[in-house]
Symmetry: C2
Subunit: 275 residues, 2 copies
């Protein structure tokens, strides 16, 4: 094999590191791949790290110790978070998104990979230090955002279902109070495959929308049944009303203040705790 030059290594290393966010790669892995000395690879890493810092492209971090190496985390800067959430709030405030019953049409946004990725980067950045073992969401609309959050954390995604399907095997089933609207409460069912969660694991609960918080509290309850611990509950967008949610301590990226009936526009703004 020809000797591999720095110019060739930098692109390849960047691709490998950013393709597996939060996963630690040993320097030996790169030494073997490129036939280079550890000191050379270390210099490469410093170059990529400096370049990422300069252009606000995320963090390349060196982790010391026996299980050490180098990893990539997106870690969007406050300026980037403000820009992403500001643009999203503006988009969700476009006319025509108001649906009967005080609902907001968001399916196009939540299922968009670029948006889900940006949300996942922001959500994951807040909880790296809590080291969750998996991300839990409830089908359907939260899945893309939850998947991208799980991707950034390098942990599995677990999906709760409305009913236990034959192809999920043995499941835990609970009832929960859904429907945040006044007089709109009703009992629904949520199921989770037993083999998806181990006792003592830490979970990050992610969903797209919170009104009353009943579905999120259902996820907290079903995890308790499986003796798992909830690190935090995070959602893309929460309604300002009702102020008191059924689930405690949930955090949202955006706040839906309400609708202007005259213009048919939603009033959406970035949440304070994210800026």
């Amino acid at each position: 094999m020809d000797k591999i030059k720095r110019n060739e290594r930098l692109g390849a290393m960047t691709r490998i590191l950013t393709d597996t966010p939060n996963r630690i790669h040993t320097l030996s892995e790169f030494c073997e791949l490129f036939g280079s000395a550890k000191s050379t690879i270390s210099e490469d890493i410093d170059l990529i790290s400096a370049s990422f810092a300069r252009f606000d492209l995320g963090k390349i971090e060196t982790v010391a110790g026996a299980a050490g190496g180098v990893r990539y985390r997106a870690m969007p800067s406050p300026a980037r978070v403000a820009r992403v959430l500001g643009e999203l709030a503006q988009r969700l405030s476009e006319p025509g998104r108001m649906l009967p019953g005080g609902f907001l049409y968001t399916s196009d946004v939540t299922a968009e990979s670029v948006t889900a990725q940006a949300m996942g980067e922001i959500l994951a950045a807040q909880y790296y230090d809590r080291q969750p073992h998996f991300v839990l969401t409830m089908e359907t609309k939260g899945i893309p955002i939850a998947l991208m959050t799980a991707r950034m954390l390098d942990v599995p995604l677990v999906i709760a279902r409305r009913d236990s399907r034959a192809y999920e095997g043995s499941a835990v089933k609970i009832n929960y109070i859904a429907g945040g609207g006044i007089g709109n409460e009703h009992i629904e069912t949520m199921a989770l495959a037993r083999r998806a969660v181990s006792p003592g694991q830490r979970a990050l609960i992610i969903d797209d929308f919170m009104k009353g918080g009943g579905t999120l509290q259902g996820m907290v309850d079903i995890l308790r049944e499986l003796q798992a611990e909830v690190v935090v509950v995070g959602v893309m967008i929460a309604t300002a009303e009702p102020r008191t949610k059924r689930v405690e301590g949930a955090r949202s990226l955006l706040v839906l203040e309400g609708f202007d009936a005259a213009t048919g526009r939603a009033r959406v703004r970035p949440s304070e705790n994210c800026l």
Copy 2:
């Protein structure tokens, strides 16, 4: 601003290109970002492209013309496809995945971002030239793979639902025949938000599992109602039996041959048309 050296540009450009698969970035975008001449940026692109080719990391392609520029596509090599599908087949053949009724437990695999990403890269690579406008899947288990396929193609994901929810607005609803097992057929309902699809658009249908093909044919039917065209139907895993599926021309990455009752193992192998 200091002059930005090649060593700094390479990592940043790789990150920007691979973060937005299939999206064309103009050379001017990079010239402005780095304060470099076009010829310099062109040389950078050649270096990254050569490095990606050498280490099987995907394609960096230059697109000529007025809307031209440079883009990244994963385009996994035949060797990589064989390795990914071989590993996945082996994992799905582990004991304990057999569920009553001839079902296979795959939820851990389908919801894993790394696996969904690898499947998305393989599926997207087959259909770049057909230029689909969006990817359609049916909730729930196919969503991660469909999202990652949509990500690689840089198109939206559209999700069909089991029932039309209040927060999706006006929807088209159809009935379809579900359940591939003998004597197990039954009628189910599928709904799709009208505003998610425009007449004349080309769709790539992606799902995780095909037995009888009824759900996939349902997706074909609902797209016809919306006057959209189906480019192709692709699934992660299809059962060998029944041989005749309700939907025509569907392609799968893996084949489920059946189960060994004695060992509790599924017999799963990569599909011929992918190797």
